[in-house]
Symmetry: C2
Subunit: 250 residues, 2 copies
């Protein structure tokens, strides 16, 4: 049975810990965190340490900390032979600095602290330098997810960029939509089914082929009317996205 | 039992027809369309006409045609006393021109021809000039949906604008995300769970409060790296949305 140690205490680290505890084929033997108290909720189930000299021997060490800290932290690990991976979408595999085998274990999902996720549905993008390590990492990833993809550092950068559009920017558009509703005493709930259906359509359709709306139709009258109702950043965003959609489809 | 006639043959007209057929409390007595062949699939169940002089007497007439055509078409209806409504998000209640009672019956959802929808979940925004007609229209809307909202023309304009952000523009961001994946041989399916979860979060959280990403963190290093990977419209959109998010949160 493969043994795993997690290093970190954030959302991803916590959700991964739960997924490994639930998985029969993997043994989560330790979690490291500078501030042990942050992991008190695990202390009855797993060995929690705040001192790297107490690190147990494991097959895979998963570093799940902020992107900027990965390089510096990875240098301090006195690990040989074993595989060390990070969970970042934007850090290169060579962002890991040490004498160990290197890899990436990137779960592509947005995690909320309080909300339990079904890891089986979450895509995990894996990468290693050696082929043997890839087989090991694939096994570990498959123990918690049904969607494991081999994605190299260059592809991962692009994937992370795609996710900024599909997640961060999309959520920002939701917040603009919400603001317009609030300002006009309209319950934002009216838009929930539309938002969910729009997202759900990607499962069966290419978004480029199902674009709708005033910009797609180049409906200048509606566009002008809507622009008049906006100002500031919202107006700029409406203008640019509309221009871009018109250019694409007309 | 209230009787309804639908005028139109588009997606909304077809989905409404199905919903009224399924509803026990409403009698759909006729559908009008200039080109009867478009409604052949209904001809065994409902009286289909292409000649307005054959219009039966009904409690409510629902005009479900393109926004630009509503005004002209509504003038040609020789209806008195009954209620005539349109289904548009962006046309004023006074866009209806005739001697009848006027109203709006706006189902806020994105409809796909081939995909059956559960109308019960779809919000219907209603408006009338007279209060008596509002009670009648509320009854009819409630027969097919559990989400009926009274929304006046001004609010409806804003709602439609919100929907452009939350549906049209969001779908356009999906298409950019998809394009980046295609260009780099990354299966877009990897992003599906993220997209669905991002949408699903609006049910429990205010999008403004759960914004994440490089722009939210004002993570200049990542932003610069990502900008270098983009060009053209995609770069402009990344820049503007990032600037706008940084301004809002920092």
């Amino acid at each position: 049975m493969n043994s795993v140690v997690i290093l970190g205490s954030g959302n991803v680290a916590n959700h991964l810990a739960q997924a490994f505890i639930d998985a029969q084929e993997i043994e989560l033997i330790q979690i490291y965190c500078r501030d042990k108290e942050k992991l008190n909720h695990w202390s009855k189930k797993i060995d929690i340490i705040d001192d790297l000299t107490q690190l147990k021997t494991a097959d895979v060490y998963i570093i799940s900390i902020s992107d900027d800290a990965i390089k510096g932290f990875s240098k301090t690990l006195k690990i040989k032979d074993s595989l060390v991976v990070h969970t970042s979408g934007s850090v290169s595999i060579n962002g890991l600095k040490g004498d160990y085998e290197k890899g990436v274990f990137y779960p592509l999902q947005t995690f909320t602290k309080s909300k339990k996720v079904n890891f089986k549905d979450i895509p995990i993008c894996i990468e290693t330098i050696s082929k043997n390590q890839l087989i090991k990492l694939e096994k570990i990833a498959s123990a918690i997810s049904n969607n494991v993809f081999i994605i190299d550092t260059e592809q991962r950068k692009k994937l992370h960029l795609s996710a900024v559009f599909a997640n961060n920017f999309v959520n920002y558009l939701y917040s603009i939509s919400n603001e317009i509703c609030d300002k006009n005493n309209i319950p934002f709930e009216i838009l929930h089914p539309l938002i969910l259906e729009t997202a759900s359509k990607i499962k069966s359709s290419n978004p480029t082929e199902i674009q709708t709306g005033p910009a797609k139709r180049n409906d200048k009258k509606t566009i002008q009317k809507q622009l008049k109702q906006l100002n500031g950043n919202q107006k700029e965003i409406y203008k640019l996205l509309t221009k871009s959609i018109i250019k694409k489809y007309n």
